[in-house]
């Protein structure tokens, strides 16, 4: 029973990491860049939602909607102003620019909202379910998170695999020159890809912020960046479904380690986990073909 609870609790947390990983995967697919500022971007948009909901008494759903819209805009602006100039340069340049953006977003958030800890109330209860006398480490709010992430995943599948817009976006990512010759406005598709990713990230941020008290802090999402990255890497960085599976694997693995070894050093476990995964398959476990180096 204990182990079963580990799996349930870990998988539920894993879905959160998956939501973050999805945002990373979307950007990797469209621009072959790992967005190291993702944690900063969703921290910022979550603070916007938090400001409305916690400080001005706005409805939870309105706060969520505003955060997502802010995410879409932020993603588009970032791609246009910061990423576009380094998109075709060495990968190192893009990594450094996104790290710079991470620091700037953290600094600006600290300037506006301070570096203290605050809480973002979850929409649904965090009290665990009971089956008979047994406690199941799963709560209505986590159920909401799982459903929300699954809905996003299905929506992304429909968009990318079934819609002409998704086909254009994929073509732009895989072969921008050929896509342009076929009349696809590649620049717009890349901007859209970043906007979409940041929108998904913004949703993830608000969902995550509610799962624990005192989550809101400019650095509160740093660890999540590594967790999300690990999840995305397990999925090969390219596959949304892989990201979700990766997230669940990371969540369960971390929970089991916490329970059987120690819960003091999560960051070290994450490092070890990522190291093991990358050593088994340097390009991710589910990656089918080697990743093109630009």
């Amino acid at each position: 029973m204990n182990f079963l609870n580990d799996v349930i609790y870990g998988a539920a947390n894993g879905v959160i990491y998956a939501a973050f990983a999805l945002a990373l995967v979307l950007i990797w697919r469209s621009t072959r860049i790992v967005n190291f500022s993702q944690g900063g971007m969703l921290m910022f948009t979550t603070f916007i939602g938090w400001e409305l909901v916690q400080r001005h008494g706005v409805n939870y759903w309105v706060g969520l909607a505003v955060a997502i819209i802010a995410g879409l805009l932020l993603g588009a602006i970032v791609e246009r102003l910061l990423v576009r100039p380094v998109e075709n340069g060495p990968p190192l340049n893009a990594v450094i620019v996104t790290l710079g953006l991470l620091l700037v977003l953290q600094a600006v958030a600290g300037m506006i909202w301070g570096n203290g800890l605050s809480s973002y109330a979850p929409r649904f209860s965090l009290n665990y379910y009971h089956v008979g006398h047994r406690v199941i480490l799963f709560s209505p709010d986590y159920l909401f998170i799982v459903i929300a992430v699954l809905v996003v995943l299905v929506a992304l599948f429909v968009l990318f695999q079934l819609s002409p817009l998704g086909l254009r976006m994929r073509a732009s990512a895989f072969n921008p020159e050929v896509a342009r010759l076929l009349g696809v406005r590649v620049g717009r598709m890349l901007t859209l890809g970043w906007a979409l990713a940041a929108g998904v990230g913004a949703l993830a941020g608000v969902l995550i912020a509610g799962t624990a008290p005192n989550y809101m802090n400019p650095n509160g999402f740093d660890e999540l960046l590594i967790l999300g990255f690990t999840a995305a890497v397990i999925g090969g960085l390219d596959s949304p479904v892989g990201a979700v599976v990766g997230g669940v694997i990371v969540g369960v693995a971390l929970q089991v380690l916490d329970d059987y070894v120690s819960n003091d050093i999560d960051p070290f476990f994450i490092f070890a986990l990522l190291l093991v995964i990358l050593m088994i398959r340097p390009n991710g476990i589910f990656a089918r073909r080697t990743v093109r180096r630009v």
Binding site: R168, R170, F174, V178, A179, R180, L181, L182, G183
Partner: protein, 235 residues
Amino acid sequence: MLELRDVVATYGAVRALDGVSLSVTDGAITAVLGANGAGKTTLLRTVNGLVRPASGSIKYAGRDLVAAPVEQVVTFGLAHVPEGRGVITELTVEENLRLGGLWRGNRKESADSLGTVYEMFPPLADRRTQPADTLSGGERQMLAIGRALMSRPTLLLLDEPSLGLAPRVTAQIMATLRRLSREQGMTVVLVEQNARSALSVADVAVVLNLGRIVAQGNADELAADEKLRHAYLGF
């Protein structure tokens, strides 16, 4: 009519095209021949906008191609079949084809074109749901041409379609081009290193050397000119 006037294109200090003037006759197949580095591919890339000429003008059916963004060129009726691996290998065969017709935004026309392409290239129909990287070289070339046809072009530009293909497959491709030209009145510009097979289908031919046109005329006449063949065409 596609019309180039005094087109100069440079890569740094190299003049890849050094004042090329050319009128491409509607409804005919024009072969652009020459050795590696003669400027053939650059010529195509200036026409479709991937390379901006340093000077000169390029017009198609009265539209200025030099000023048009690459994404717009397809709407003028130009379709480009890029060299070698121009198919998007990560997409399925059908996705590649659908991509070609997307700019029209007309589902009915797109479905019709898809049917026509599958009729023309039956192997593609058999593999419609497979990723394009599972195709053979000849099939990829069919896919690239089929995708170009999906946009219902009036002018088809092909860059080295015979590259790396077996002679039999090359002959099939050339026959297809001839059919498109004869039956549908499509204008075809065919850049080829393989001069012999290009001349076998072309109506007119142009020979490039070091960025300049050194000969042009009827394909039969050029093929008969032994000195020219030895100097520039390698057969």
